[in-house]
């Protein structure tokens, strides 16, 4: 079966513009995660979705960031009024469940460059 897919793979945008990043999780995976990875750094947790429960948005860095997920399918991460510090790779992951030992499967990421 297909893995986690993300689009676009690369996005260059001007400062102040809005961008929308898309994630298609593995079919049947109820949990979906967004992470941000700045150059040379580890992954920062942004947001988590589990089924129809309220998402955990505790990692979103500002109110310019938002994300949605429809049921257990596609998720979109939206960044409004982009700033240069938003430049990073945005990674999406999904897992079958959220118990302690469920593996997260990662997509290839979207590399966002804000000029």
């Amino acid at each position: 079966g297909a893995g986690v897919s993300q689009s676009p793979s690369n996005k260059v945008t001007e400062k102040g513009k809005d961008v929308e990043l898309r994630c298609d999780p593995i079919s049947g995976h109820t949990a979906l995660y967004w992470y941000r990875q700045r150059l040379g750094q580890g992954l920062e947790f942004l947001i988590y979705f589990q089924g129809n429960s309220a998402p955990d948005k505790s990692g979103l860095p500002s109110d310019r960031f938002s994300a949605e997920r429809t049921g257990e399918s596609v998720s979109t991460l939206t960044i409004q009024r982009t700033q240069q510090e938003d430049s990073a790779v945005y990674l999406c992951a999904s897992s079958f469940g959220t118990g302690g030992t469920y593996e997260q499967y990662f997509g290839p990421g979207t590399r966002l460059t804000v000029t």
Binding site: F45, Y48, D56, T101
Partner: protein
């Protein structure tokens, strides 16, 4: 905030040698996982070790966990050029409300020279 801290930050070895990377963390964990990342893109899960385990093997990988020292090590034996990548440890908290979160370190960049 980053819980895991890997060291060294960068490691360069010759093909055939063993590579050892270490990870330290701060809070109590449910499990610790190691991931590999090629060329700054998607991560691939390598191995998971639970908090009640001390050592685990998978192919050429050996992971140890010392919960008293809050540290883990990843050993790659008989390294190959294809092992060149960044390696991250990630911890899963035991906190019931947020035990789904993985907290990643900054990674070790491993270069295996042919």
């Amino acid at each position: 905030s980053q819980q895991g801290e890997e060291d060294p930050q960068a490691l360069s070895i010759q093909e055939g040698e063993n590579a050892t990377m270490n990870c330290s963390y701060k809070t109590s964990i449910n499990n610790l996982q190691w991931y590999r990342q090629n060329s700054g893109r998607g991560l691939v899960h390598l191995i998971l070790i639970r908090s009640n385990e001390r050592e685990k093997h998978s192919g050429r990988l050996r992971v140890t966990l010392d919960t008293s020292k809050k540290s883990s090590s990843l050993l790659i034996t008989a390294s190959r050029a294809a092992d060149t990548a960044s390696y991250f440890c990630a911890t899963r908290s035991i906190s019931g409300g947020s035990n789904y979160k993985l907290t990643f370190g900054k990674g070790t960049l491993l270069t295996v020279n042919p």
